[in-house]
Amino acid sequence: MANKRYGMVIDLRKCAGCHACTVACKAENKVPDGIKRTKIIEEETGEFPNVAITFRKHQCMHCQDAPCVKVCPTKASYHTEFGTCEVDPKLCIGCKYCVHACPYRARTINPENGLPEKCTLCVDKLAKGELPACATTCIGNAITVGDLNDPNSEVSRAVAKGARPLNPEWNTKPSIFYIWNRR
């Protein structure tokens, strides 16, 4: 089993909602027209004048207990040695079960090759010791990437300090954590 678990802590207090991550990802990963692997979701709560807006970077959560991996009939969806969720194009038959099973709605189908299209945490860059494209370009420095299984990593420390995943009640053990906006 993989003993690394790469994940991301996204500090929503620093996220300007600028979409640089979305565009950098498109450039890095040649994501087809009309599809985004990561995107900013703007959430407004409250009533004027007590209103808050949160910009949240949304993407594949790289769950450790991933519904997509669980439902894939051919084990094409799997965890890499970095603990990220990945799709093996050789095994994938394009049944789309994973797309429907993902509670975060973080997958779609690439019309060019029929494969599930989603964030890979730029696993090829991780393998080279580089950071994902979104993390390097983030103008608010809101994105930290590291090994959650290493208690001394910056991400682990942020999690220890209270960074939370989205919908932990789904028990999918996501590897993407958020530090929520204070307003």
Binding site: K36, K39, P73, T74, A76, P103, R105
Partner: protein, 288 residues
Amino acid sequence: MHGEVLWNVYIAIYLFLAGISAGSAVLAAVNQLFGIWEEKVTKAAAYVAPFPVMGGLLALVLDLSRPLNFYQVMLHYNWTSVMSWGVVFLNLFPPVALLFAVSHFTGWFEKYRKALAVAVMALGVGIGTYAGLLLAAISANPLWGNPVLGVLFLVSALSTGVCAAMLVAQFVFKVSHQSLKGLAVVDSTLIILELVVIAVLLIGWAVAPTGGKALQILLAGEYAGIFLGGVLVFGLLVPLALNLLELGAFGKARHIPAVAPLLVLVGGYFLRHVIVYAGQAIYPLLLG
């Protein structure tokens, strides 16, 4: 806002055809084992059983976005995936059902017919149930993620299977009016059961925290017409009424041979269509 449709009409067709096969297989097996009606009924149902699911499999392959990799699903299994279980059933059912049909057609392996019947019934129930469970396993989906869906798909599979067999029994094998009446009783029972299961589902959604969306889309949203009209009224209530007429519940019996089973079949398709489409429309893909 509308969700992206990734599972389209092919999947609805597949679910529908697989259900017919499952239902008629169970009917054939039950009559084989218990001899409730004349043998022609078994024959009719046994002849129906293997074929729709084969058409369904074709539809399934057409739905794949990587159809050339189709064979991988038979080489690699993932036992946490309901779909892999389905693959097992789908691998075994057609040959067994075909064997059963051949046995009735040619009279071969008559000795093993009962054993075949047991196998065909088990696999039929498997196919009839797993499709619903496949959707039910998607627990994040407020419409699909409901285990009762497995029961609904099974009951509907039996109902459509019985109706398909009824049509063949009636027009190809010219079975007796008596047997048809008996099948109409079975069909009516299944329809009532299906209505009860639907009621349970609706109540389930009504009390579930996220079920409101499911109710909204089925009862008031863009799929309300097809669900209320196509499934409930014309697919269940009208054929039930026709069956009851047929059975003399309202006085003099009359013969309206094909209408009720046909309506049940059409309703059976609509049911799967609605569930497949509404389940996708219920919330959008976030990364489109």
